[in-house]
């Protein structure tokens, strides 16, 4: 964190290939398993709209594709659509960076917003570790973490 913005960074190493990791990050049959039964509505081109939809069809977060380099890098703008106080913080920037390192792929997730003390960044800081842990489990063992397979009730 610095004086002008808030950010969250998470690094994990996954025994997989960049191609499979990319597929898991973008395709609904994977995200449903590790990302609380959500799917992304996007055609994965620069400038395309991006939406994260929960199982009942509501849009949880929305933005657009800012940069895309398949199997290596994806940058999204990202705004929460659920909570007025989080939506009011405006767009954040999410970067996925994938890099083969020996038998593992290093995945770096950086989520930042241009305001100090962001409630939104605090919120996602609590969510990313379990989602990314579950993604790693899914790719390495074939099974995501049980706690991430359903959208939490009442949200």
């Amino acid at each position: 964190m610095n004086s002008t913005g808030s950010s969250f960074v998470y690094v994990t190493y996954i025994r997989t290939t960049p191609e499979r990791l990319w597929q898991a990050l973008t395709e609904p049959e994977f995200t449903r398993q590790f990302w609380a039964d959500t799917v992304q509505d996007c055609d994965w081109k620069v400038g395309s709209s991006w939406k994260l939809m929960i199982p009942d069809g509501r849009v949880a977060d929305a933005g657009e594709v800012l940069e895309i380099e398949p199997h290596r890098r994806l940058v999204l703008s990202w705004q929460n659509q659920f909570k007025p106080e989080l939506k009011a913080e405006g767009f954040s920037r999410l970067v996925y960076s994938l890099e083969q390192q020996g038998e593992m792929v290093k995945l770096t997730v950086t989520h930042q917003i241009g305001r100090p003390g962001s409630q939104f960044i605090e919120k996602v800081s609590g969510g990313w570790p379990i989602i990314l842990s579950s993604l790693k489990s899914l790719l390495e063992t074939g099974e995501s973490l049980e706690a991430t397979r359903r959208w939490p009730e009442g949200i």
Binding site: S134, K136, E140, E146
Partner: protein
């Protein structure tokens, strides 16, 4: 917010608190996922913590500050390599909790002096060690030590490049 460096990392593992605690403290297990390092941390508070490199040298020694199996473990961290030795010991704390059928492992590494070089090193090292721990407990897969050294070296080069750019 304090200016003192503090590293925090959370990882969820399909395992039990007992298995996670044992994997963090038993050198026969750490050797399998911690890139060949033998880490001995099973003693009570006040006893010695050691980590030996794959070559057998004492890489790190400290004192167990807290041991509450299988929930909490804390020790001082004082690498013995020449370039690290001058820094005073820092502190590593693990919290192990059951969370909806999984384990939530939180590591906090803090009590560094401002501007600590070692802080940069451990910030690169822990994600690799804990990723490897998770793979080991969930799939039995062990990690080739050369991968770890390559990952840390690469991260150091990137950090160096960032500093030059800045």
């Amino acid at each position: 917010m304090s200016d003192k460096p503090k590293f925090v990392y959370v990882i969820y593992i399909a395992s039990s608190p007992e298995k996670v605690f044992e994997a963090l403290t038993n050198p026969d297990l750490t050797e399998k996922y911690w890139f060949g390092f033998r880490v001995a941390a099973a003693g009570p508070a006040g006893s010695t913590f050691t980590a030996r490199s794959p070559g057998g040298e004492k890489f790190n020694k400290g004192v167990i500050l807290e041991s509450d199996p299988p929930r909490r473990l804390a020790y001082t961290w004082h690498p013995q390599y020449d370039h690290d030795k001058h820094e005073r010991p820092s502190r590593v704390t693990f919290d192990i909790e059951s969370f909806r059928g999984q384990v939530r492992l939180t590591i906090v590494h803090d009590d560094f002096d401002v501007g600590s070089k070692m802080f940069e090193g451990i910030s690169r090292g822990w994600p690799a060690v804990l990723s490897s721990l998770k793979s080991f407990l969930e799939s039995g897969q062990t990690s080739d030590p050369s991968w770890f050294y390559e990952a840390v070296k690469k991260a150091e080069e990137e950090a160096q490049a960032d500093r030059v750019q800045a």
